[in-house]
Symmetry: none
Subunit: 130 residues, 2 copies
DNA sequence: TGCGATACCTAGCACTGTTATGTATAATGG
DNA sequence: CCATTATACATAACAGTGCTAGGTATCGCA
């Protein structure tokens, strides 16, 4: 499926950070991982990904190091930083706000399934004050 | 909450089309509706909204007509077109693909909460090897 | 009279994905 | 042995778009 430019722009950073948050990776592998995670629906180009990686590195959200594959190929591995994790958290919060808002407009179907918490939980594992 | 530029760009079109899909409206009212729908989290500026409306009109997704408020103020009302509804459907599909993908990565970070209870929970406070 | 809310509009800036192109190596198939 | 594909990284020019900052105007209220 073709994803619009704007949606790609909005999702590329949190997706890359999320992938790196699961473990170090490199450009080509990230492209394949995105395709895999989306069930083949999202197809990124390398010309779009590399500038994203360079920008994230410039901002200090990820750090690069050169490494070698089993076959001897040079690879540039990226690792998420503490700053990157904080940024990812912020992006996730924003994404959820927007997603919730949009689903609110779309979904007259969606029923809020709020459940009143029990007045007295069966197990008081962490009482306040401790 | 501050929503990033990219996320705003990606969500502005489907949000505007969704609001107009619920009924005709005009610029200033759309701004208030977005704030209301998001629970006050999304604050659009008019300088951002009007170009969006003009673009959607140029693309044929909405149609404008001048009207009058109860007080005699001039208002530019917008109505969604058939083309606009089709575009909205397409945007929703894309949004869902991306959202599902992102939730997939985020979910993998969290610990899976399987129904299978631990064999001896009380005694497994420390993993083997300690 | 002054102020905030209502109601619309636009120019220039900065950022970013797309497209196209370049470089190089390893594996595969004929 | 050679051609093709996959792997692996990089950048320049282009086009689209929100943001900032500014402008115009009416209405209700104190």
């Amino acid at each position: 499926m073709e994803i619009s430019k704007d949606l790609t722009a909005a999702s590329s950073t949190p997706i890359v950070l999320s992938i790196l948050n699961d473990g170090d990776s490199y450009g080509y592998a990230i492209l394949k991982r995105v395709r895999e995670l989306s069930g083949g629906e999202i197809e990124w180009t390398d010309g779009m990904l590399y500038p994203v990686l360079h920008r994230l590195e410039r901002l200090g959200h990820i750090k690069a190091r050169w490494g070698e594959s089993e076959t001897g190929r040079q690879r540039k591995y990226y690792r998420i930083t503490a700053s990157g994790r904080a940024h990812l958290d912020e992006e996730r919060r924003q994404w959820k706000v927007v997603n919730t808002t949009m689903r609110g407009i779309w979904g007259s179907i969606q029923v809020a399934f709020t459940r009143t918490p029990p007045a007295r939980p069966l197990l008081l594992l962490a009482p306040q004050g401790i």
